[in-house]
Amino acid sequence: MTTPERQLLSGDDAVALAALHAGVRLGTGYPGTPSTEILETFDRLGGRAQWSPNEKVALEVALGVAFAGARTLVTMKHVGLNVAADPLFTATYTDVEGGLVIVSADDPGMASSQNEQDNRHYSRAAAIPTLEPIDSQQAYDFTLLAFEISERWKIPVMLRITTRVCHSKTIVVPRAPVSDVAEPSFERKIPTRVMIPAYAKPAHHRLRAKLAEIAAWNEAEGPIRLDVGDSKLGVISTGICAVHAREAAPEASHLTLGMTYPLPLERIRAFAAGVERLLVVDEGDPVLVDELRAAGIAAEGKPEMYRFGELDVARVRRILAGDTSPEPVPPKGKPPELCQGCAHREVFQALGELGCIVSGDIGCYTLGVLPPFSAMDTCVCMGASIGVGLGLRHVLPEEQARRVVSVIGDSTFVHSGLTGIAEMVYNPPATGHLVMILDNGTTAMTGLQEHPGTGRLLDHSTTNKMSFEGIARAMGVQNVQVVETTDKSVSLKDVIAELLAKPETSLLITRQPCVLAAPKIRFYDKAAAESARGHTCSADVAD
């Protein structure tokens, strides 16, 4: 995949190929649909990539790489940027030496997400220059451009892609790999990297000056595409909407913005002056149209009903026509379900039979909320199962409080469950609490990725393995138990009932490999054992 020939690539694969060609020294991230494949492909192409426990740590590691003068890529889904928001807002104050590109993969329409947040708000809030590709070719080109901008202005750059760009395959003509990427080397630059108030105050002024320069660059030579058509209608769009809009209104004039923060307002003003009707077509929140109006450009936005879900050619045609009549409701498909043979089934069966109030989390096991189990009562964000469960315990009448159980997966526990355990130990409810880790030995929901609890790296080679039971004991959880769900001599229901009866803090780990991952895990274990015996193993994993 390294020859400059035309290829049919997904947006994710195009970002990975560009990262390779840009000379990225380390890619970090946390798996999350639709961003997951970027690091997997980067690894497959020969890049160095690793999964971090969560997105905050991934960004912090990348920041260290960039401070060392090397190029680095951080990938995550939209909600992952919430986890990474703390370092993000200060990272833009610092002067990064090597290029630092953060990928935010947004999911309008919520193909597999718990909200449809529009991360262009983060561009403005954290003051991070943002590029939005329309297809795989631009995903490739803009990744390279993002590194150039990042290094030129010593600022992190965000590549905001959406589900339809990540998971659509379109043709890409790659360029030759960059050959003159700087070697990492540490140079002490305290005032630009240590954000105590004395250094952060001038850093904020420097940040605003950088943005002004980048805005001027965007006006003069930014990635803007102008298609001059009929002056009756001018359409301004970004990302995937640009292709929907050009298909829906081929006769109109189109201005497609590649860098959507900071905006090229004068270019937009000039375009607006040349058309009779100016319509902004963008997915999600009215971020762009609001900014144009604030700048005094009289732009028409989409009606409120189109804020929800993805846009497509048909919906853009309706927006163009000002049609706000109810949209046709697509027929419902078959919903996903827990796999046959999945150990989570037994857990939800038992929790249902015991009448538990289940504080749930993000992962495959969230499917426990659907029939036939209908055994999950709350689900907010990664790690929230523990905090929410504790809150319920603190205030519910005792009879109900004793039925509250927090349920979390193994990857999610490492991502953001550890601080929840600290909270449980520190502020235990009067009735105690029960946290269950449903450990299936993988990050199943996103496609079987590794995490610190599996003892394997992104490329499935072995590394240190974190012990959940050891951690819980060390943190001071009173009862720690492990149930192998294949062990039929133990009744899971009885164990749960017993722990619920104790006014103490408990962690119950149910352990059984994911049915989809088990064959691969056996293969990795065998490969590791062979390599430990001095054999080499070059076989690929069987599908």
Partner: protein, 170 residues
């Protein structure tokens, strides 16, 4: 400009919907067309409904097939026909497992490739690109069985199975 060809492939998670759309997109790519392929996956891997759009032609803009504009709808599972029917244009072609006689496939997992064989009879992509695209997406040990499956589907279609399909007479 030549009209863009729109194909929707639908089924349930695990049936090979995405693999089939990868093969079709690659065949069109190898034939020199502009191609865009769109899919949604994630939770869909857990046995739920899955569909994927493939569009090819001289120039393709949106990667998504607009509802009611599919020239071909390939459905791998009978229960998924009705929910995907609104994608098909008037006069478009529906292809589903009823085209094949029961037990005709040696390996049930090659159903997606067998039905691609049927699809190949109604699209302007030369045969050699189909085979190259199928091989590129499968491990070598699976080539033979899928070769046979593709031929089986293609033959059924050429013998008139598509025209005889009750839902295609409408």
């Amino acid at each position: 400009m030549e009209k863009v060809k729109n194909i929707v492939i639908a089924g349930l998670g695990g049936q090979g919907v995405l693999t089939a759309s990868d093969m079709l997109a690659e065949a069109a790519f190898r034939a020199g067309f502009d191609v865009k392929k769109s899919e949604l996956h994630g939770m869909s891997q857990r046995g739920g409904s899955v569909s994927s759009d493939v569009r090819y032609g001289e120039q393709v803009l949106s990667p998504m097939v607009p509802a009611g504009e599919a020239d071909v709808l390939l459905v791998l599972e009978a229960t998924q026909i009705e929910i995907n029917r609104p994608m098909l244009r008037a006069g478009g072609v529906l292809i589903d497992p009823s085209l094949l006689s029961e037990g005709a496939l040696k390996n049930k997992k090659s159903l997606n490739v067998a039905l691609l064989g049927a699809v190949s009879t109604v699209l302007d992509i030369p045969q050699e690109h189909w085979m190259a695209a199928i091989y590129a997406n499968l491990a070598e040990k699976l080539h033979k069985v899928n070769d046979q499956a593709f031929a089986l589907g293609r033959e059924a279609a050429l013998k008139g199975a598509i025209a005889k399909h009750p839902l295609n007479r409408v």
